[in-house]
């Protein structure tokens, strides 16, 4: 497996606070990788660094071997935001949101072409939201909302998909649907990186897990990551009695 996302010695600081401390990580292509850590562990910061929203103090990031800026221009990076980051009363319907995935591939005025319509219909079908295409996005269930944004990344034909807490506010049944969907995307050769502090879905979902607490504490098989002593470290309950608050 080759690395779709290469993070090499990345350090990010917000003022005095160290958010990421010399993080190095290789996320494999065509697999689902779970990024696990508690709130404030640097998951969102790592996502922002990967999408280039923030510039690391030091270190380097490569996406499919190219700089993040280049990967973005190629439309390689798909992003599914956290629920709290979305204005659910915004006057757009599901189809409008999915169409936003096509913008990077359209002309300067983003005029909709036949191939865009086709890609959007196809993406909606893959996430089983065709019947909901004309609904305002706030009028969907938690799981459907997530799937709408995954459809956007599919319509974009993103090779790398970043999902920020996709299981927050999602019931068990929708969770299973999303897991199945992400598995299918990975089997299709896409790279899926999922940040979560919800560990239930992880064994079915992910091929690999990364435990993050400012540093990479562990990177390997999911069941090994879920070992109690490892989780205790990642979630700040330090069994060795050191000061766990980093």
């Amino acid at each position: 497996m080759t690395a779709a996302i290469e993070v090499d010695g990345v350090t990010v600081r917000y003022g005095e606070a160290l958010a990421l401390d010399d993080v190095s990580l290789e996320v494999p292509t065509g697999a689902v990788t779970g990024l696990i850590g508690m709130n404030g562990s640097g998951k969102s910061t790592l996502f922002k660094a990967i999408t280039g929203m923030i510039r690391p103090e030091s270190g380097r990031i490569l996406l499919d071997g190219a700089s993040p800026a280049r990967a973005r221009r190629r439309g390689a990076v798909g992003y599914v935001p956290q629920s709290e980051a979305v204005d659910w009363s915004f006057p757009v319907c599901v189809r409008d949101v999915v169409m936003m995935g096509r913008f990077g591939r359209q002309g300067p005025t983003r005029r909709v072409r036949a191939c865009d319509r086709l890609a959007v219909d196809d993406a909606l079908e893959q996430v089983e939201l065709t019947a909901y295409a004309e609904r305002q996005i706030g009028q969907l269930s938690g799981g459907q909302k997530k799937r709408a944004f995954v459809a956007r990344a599919i319509a974009q034909d993103a090779r790398i998909m970043l999902l920020d807490e996709p299981f927050a506010g999602v019931d068990k049944r929708s969770e299973a649907t999303i897991v199945e969907l992400l598995r299918a995307l990975a089997d299709d050769g896409r790279t899926v990186l999922v940040s979560t502090h919800d560990l239930h879905a992880l064994p079915q979902l992910a091929d690999q897990a990364v435990l993050l607490l400012q540093k990479v504490l562990f990177h390997g098989k999911v069941d090994e990551a879920l070992a109690p002593e490892r989780l205790a470290l990642a979630f700040g309950l330090d069994v060795l009695g050191r000061d766990g608050v980093a």
């Binding site: 006057p91 913008f103 990077g104």
Partner: protein, 300 residues
Amino acid sequence: MTPLDWIIEPLSYDFMTRALVTTVIAAVVCALLSCWLVLIGWSLMGDAVSHAVLPGVVIAYILGVPFALGALVFGVAAVGLIGLVRGTSRVKEDAAIGIVFTTLFALGLVLISVTPSHTDLNHIIFGNILGVSRADLVQVAVLASAAFTVLVLTRRDLTLYAFDPTHAHAIGLSPRVLGALLLGVLALTAVVALQVVGVVLVVAMLIIPGATAYLLTDRFGRMLVIAPVLSSLCSVLGIYISYWADASPGGLVVVTQGCAFALVYLLGPKHGLLGQGSRARRHRRGAVRLPADQAGSVET
């Protein structure tokens, strides 16, 4: 006097036709812009920029250059200063906006008080729609067309920027550039609107139409039609009322728009107070009417 005369008679005066044309032009472009401003949450920013252009307009008058140039310089300067104060001190954004725009507005007042002029510069503050000259009208039309064209051509990117700037960034667009573009158009539009209602009331034209349209539809594309149409109708009505009631035209344009908002707020079928009540009742009654295939896949 027939109702038709009520409409026709004012048009026999050139200054009234010019006033009406100018008002409609300003109403359309302001309303269009307002759709994005209310959704991004930039109402206060609209207020700030529209006030902060005052010294720019006065200096432009003194130097004899187009008002728009001065307005643009000070609009951009205001946004820059707000960002500077917010980013480099512990003062929060709303306070930063309040400090910068009131100071610049006050500077404008001072400049007006020491500038000898043939025309009354106070018209910039309160608007002088009945005194619009041919040259003013041409300037308004040019600026408004520029703003209108930019907004229509970039509307999809601006909507993406308003909805999800992170995605905009992730697909290689620059949220920073889109934001700057919107603020630039805001400064231009402020110059257009201050001809009609004056600096003090520009913000009303930049917020009310978008907010009203937002209560009427769940589709952004429709907002972009509803807001300008509604705003134009209200503005024309306001000008007519001002003619027959012999009252402040700028004031009445804004009061009419405010009344339209109040009506929609109360009676709007989708998101109005009364509409919400009847919809909730319908919802309770009609819950079983879902088509069978959809009902099967409805998630909780």
